[in-house]
Symmetry: C2
Subunit: 293 residues, 2 copies
């Protein structure tokens, strides 16, 4: 089987966790009915993007892995005979939480997890308060639909993360994401930011000769403190191994974005552009320095 | 002085070296007259792209550094009071040649050199026959117009090279280039290749928060063996530190592409997108492996 059909679930979230989960489940079922063998959910899809403020009470949203969410998505994966990539707020211990992607095999078992390695912290995105940086490294998760290089949101700006996944044999790069605009930004600034976000990820596809699947949250979420909002920009997309756009979602609507990938294409592209052959690994040592000063 | 005007010289080359050099000089003078304080030449601008075939006789095209070309460009830099980035076929010793960029300070002295680190080898681009991989590492060249992260052509596909330059304080990433299509390729494939080339470099701008200036050869050059040709795709461009296109040249015409960069913009962009802050240098060690198997 050289073709793989995937579905990306771009959705709006509300304060009602059960509603969010029901919406997600409904969209997963539609994607599977349309032929998807791999369904990818956006970052922290069970709740509002709670990192707009720093509040100790919000750690109540976290859950154990395995736990009730993994039981639910695992059962759904098994029922539909598909691989699912979910994104959960993981409670590992009291005072120790992660932003964790969980991959379910089509038999419902957990194929593997990835704990977000790069953690942002900007006004309205106070993630360093909530998430301990991941300690599982950059390792693809092996599944029946291929070796999945799952990374999360802020990771998408780091070529190092994409490269390490590709070097470990990832067939696909997958980015569950929650990124948006300050509604006060100018139209020009919004365009530059969205285009930069998409372009840097297309660059990872090109540099590594692998498809990239990025699924982003959509909709406006007000800050609980009433001092702002985030306009999540949707715009989920799938790029092929030359960075070419294969499917593109809107900026303001819930969507199931479908794509059928030719898994032989990476091999073809890497033969005409054999970048892995010529890496100067003898001269890359200082990539592990903070700054070369 | 926070603004910097630069000119990229996108030109066609012929078999006549003196004609090529005269054209280059004329275009440099025009760029300087239009206000450029930094002029960047395309890869191997003094000759046809000789790497379409492997011929020992073609090593005659190589020259010593310093030598007659560096004397000529140094004098021009001093006369016009500008910084020039040139690209030469360096004869270092008998049997030892490099693809070398030379940066001239505005007083005519050589500010520094960069020997192309990543060497391609594909049908029609037999560079591994001609060029020993560089041994000077990825180090910016300090000049009166800033710290120049000069890289060459094939380097442009490697995020590692761009990152190492940025970590060493490069203010700009600069890519003299000679890349083109097989004229037999389909229109779709040509578009994918050009867009991938531009996108991966825009990605370096974004990931590192620095402008990218890429200058490419233009025109069709037949293989001396009559078995093909390369349609150099021009398309030189300048992107800002969010990857936004600031200036764009055509695919088929000689051009002096001018841009005025706001050098304060990188600092602003890096404050809103502080990627350097969050690099997981504790987890990047295996970037120096060929493959993680």
């Amino acid at each position: 089987m050289t073709m793989l059909t995937a579905a990306l679930i771009q959705q709006c979230c509300s304060e009602n966790r059960e509603t969010n989960l029901a919406t997600t489940e409904c969209m997963i079922r539609k994607g599977a009915a349309a032929g998807a063998k791999l369904v990818i959910l956006q970052e922290l899809h069970s709740s509002l993007y709670f990192c707009q403020i720093e509040s100790p009470a919000l750690f109540d949203l976290a859950e154990s892995i395995p736990g009730s969410s993994t039981a639910r998505f695992g059962a759904l994966a098994a029922e539909l005979n598909i691989v699912i990539v979910a994104s959960l707020f993981e409670r590992r211990a009291a005072g120790l939480y992660h932003n964790t992607a969980v991959v379910f095999e089509k038999d419902g078992t957990i194929a593997g997890t990835y704990r977000k390695m790069h953690i942002p912290d900007d006004p309205g995105f106070y993630e360093k308060f909530y998430f301990t940086p991941g300690d599982l490294g950059f390792n693809p998760i092996e599944t029946s639909v291929g070796s999945l290089g799952v990374l999360v949101c802020w990771d998408q700006w780091y070529p190092e993360a994409a490269r390490l996944m590709a070097l470990a044999g990832a067939d696909l790069l997958i980015y569950p994401t929650a990124i948006g605009w300050d509604p006060q930004d100018t139209v020009d600034e919004k365009e530059r930011q969205y285009d930069a976000w998409r372009t840097v990820q297309r660059g990872h596809a090109i540099a590594n000769g692998v498809p990239v699947l990025a699924v982003n949250r959509v909709g406006v979420e007000q800050s609980p403190q009433g001092d702002g909002a985030i306009q999540f920009w949707g715009g989920s997309f799938i790029a092929g191994p030359q960075g070419e756009i294969l499917a593109q979602a809107s900026a303001d609507t819930e969507e199931i974005l479908m794509v059928t990938l030719d898994r032989g294409r990476s091999e073809t592209v890497r033969r005409i552009w054999p970048f892995l052959r010529d890496r100067r690994i003898d001269a890359y040592g200082e990539l592990v320095k903070r700054f070369r000063d």
